[in-house]
Amino acid sequence: MLKAIRMPKWGLAMEEGTIVEWLRSVGDEVAEGDDLIDIETTKITNTLQATNAGRLVRIVAGDGEVMPVGALIGVLASEIADEAEVDAFIAASPVAVVEEEAEEEAAMAVQSLDIGKRINVATAGSGKPLVLLHGFSGDLNNWLFTIEGLKDAARVIAIDLPGHGASEKDVGDGSLAGLAADVAAALEELGVSDAVVAGHSLGGAVAMRLALDHPALVSKLALVCPAGLPGGFVSDDFLSGIVNAEKARDVKKALQLLVRDPDTVSRDMVDGVVKMLRLDGAQAALAVLRERMLAGGDFAALSLDALPPVTLIASRNDAIVGAPDVSALPPGWTVHWLDQAGHLPQLEAAGEVNALLRALL
């Protein structure tokens, strides 16, 4: 039985990808979930994992090749196959499978909610709600791989926090309670309750505040490198780097603090953040959030003991919020340490994060 390995589609904007490196060689036995290929998109470099077990029998597109989404790039065999069979399989395989992808694409909808201010939301899939809250100066696109990876198992709802993305640049006093109230209003507008809420960085703190202030909305929390835990900090190099950035190169410098390997910060990733920061009021809104975070009071007021079940995904190489003091956390929290990521594991180690989130659904 032969299986096609195709160029994945990571996010709405992806049209093609560059094969940076095959991590396995022809003849290797591959298990489901094994890292197969490093693929570079205009957003970020990510690793494609095997969705089937088998032996890698053919590499169709080699290192350095640029292939459209859906294109055949390799072949796996679950039983012994001869070369002629593989050739026939490749010849019979459509050059690119896009129609199916187009349908999936249609499944992801971006909408603008009016909760007294404009809140931008992307939704995909159906089933149990999984709410995704990005961090400071991020937007819902930070969850690109999460949305794509989990929409088969959940109704994934990614929200642009106020002051971010395409949401209104009004953050009020910048308090966690204010941000959480806006998220709650958006979720109510969507008719969502009892959700698994995953929050990254500042979004992690907002998720905690949301669970405390609006308990009916949150059944479980997943905190990804969250701000506001004991033992952690908030790097003002990053916050002020963003708030005071004037040029794209300033933004790039700040974003490179987020990741373990600075080369993963691509031009498109910088462009996306630069475009957001240029919007009227965006940097001013972030300045309000920065000051509020540096004051620290909102974090201190988070009653960790009162939270619903928490899965904490923390990174040992996190330059932005540091490593939390696990001994100071309430008993019962599930803690996962990541070694291969910086502060953006949902992009840097998407497979691992997705697997952890999937387990909560």
Binding site: V66, A166, K169, E246, K247, A248, R267, K275, R278, L279, D280
Partner: protein, 333 residues
């Protein structure tokens, strides 16, 4: 994100800034849509339809149809600017600059310096340039080199819908005189443009492609061609950086020199005759500031030293083509 045309992006910037600031007014030939006739004013909006819809929304005090009197249009806009308004004057075709240039380079551009820093002239001159419309020698020029050499002016050449909106917003909010050079051939090009208002700073180049083999610098309508050339080259394994400085004054020299430092090879694509062009200017920058980094002669892809011809085949041959850009890059390798 909404996908809109370059024309609509400019219109949106005008509309949003007019709504935001009552000092912003438009003036020029037919910007309202033909005042004084027996039909409807506002049914058009400039000869290219860029200002369509603004007259009905803002009225004749803010969208001012003028006689065909370019000196008076630009001069009055400069006078209104220096006395507290923020006019956006439309000069229609940049070719018409000849009949009002005094009001631009001797008046508006010099007020601040001549008057010891006491004048503020927040004037925007919107005008369009470039070949491709079979419009002949007096409706097809670019002329940005002439404007770029004038101290006191800022000169903007937007190459995409996103840039057009953000740069025009910046231009309107800027306190200095800005010449905003639209490319006729780009009006129908579409791209993602945020609904919200945003500014793109002047003097910061846009990097459209990353590569370590060569650097292409291109302006305005030449940017999409440079990108197309880069993509063709990439298929042959040649990775080039494409820089769009966005503004010729101020010029992001740092971005050009930084990139040159990495690649050592430079091609400048400029839709203008070669002498005293931006191509020549940037070549001079490279030679005077980064001589040691250069691994090959700088490639200059420009128009010939002729007026813009009319016959379609001649006009097509006049403008730098993707093929010429590719060839110029290869020559540096």
């Amino acid at each position: 994100m909404p996908v809109i045309s370059y024309r609509k992006a400019i219109n949106q910037a005008l509309e949003q800034e007019m709504a935001r600031d009552a000092r912003v007014i438009l003036m020029g030939i037919d910007v309202g849509g033909g005042a004084g006739g027996s039909g409807d004013v506002g049914s058009v909006g400039g000869v290219m339809g860029v200002t369509k819809g603004l007259y009905p929304k803002f009225g004749s005090d803010r969208v001012i149809d003028t006689p065909i009197s370019e000196s008076a249009i630009i001069g009055a806009a400069a006078g209104a600017a220096v006395t507290g308004m923020r006019p956006v004057a439309e000069l229609m075709f940049v070719d018409f600059i000849g009949v009002c240039f005094d009001q631009i380079y001797n008046q508006a551009a010099k007020f601040r310096y001549m008057f010891g820093g006491k004048a503020r002239t927040p004037l925007v001159i919107r005008t369009m340039g470039g070949a491709g419309m079979r419009a002949g020698a007096q409706h097809s020029q670019t002329l940005h080199p002439i404007l770029t050499m004038v101290p006191g002016l800022k000169v903007v050449m937007p190459s995409s819908p996103y840039d057009a909106k953000g740069l025009l917003t910046r231009a309107i909010r800027d306190d200095d005189p800005v010449v905003f050079l639209e490319s006729k051939s780009l009006y129908d090009v579409k791209g993602e443009v945020p609904e919200e208002a945003y500014e793109i700073p002047f003097g910061e180049a846009n990097v459209l492609r990353d590569g370590r083999d060569a650097t292409i610098v291109a302006f305005g309508a030449m940017v999409p061609r440079a990108v197309a050339a880069a993509d063709l080259l990439a298929k042959e394994g040649v990775k080039v950086t494409v820089l769009d400085p966005r503004t010729t004054s101020p010029l992001d020299e740092e971005a050009i020199l930084d990139s040159l430092d990495e690649t050592g090879r430079l091609v400048v694509v400029d839709e203008s005759p070669p002498r005293c062009s931006l191509a020549a200017d940037i070549a001079a920058l490279a030679v005077s500031q980064a001589f040691d980094a250069l691994k090959a002669p700088v490639g200059l892809v420009t128009c010939p030293h002729t007026p813009v011809p009319f016959a379609p085949n001649l006009e097509d041959a006049y403008v730098p083509s993707v093929a010429r850009i590719v060839e110029a890059v290869k020559k540096t390798l």
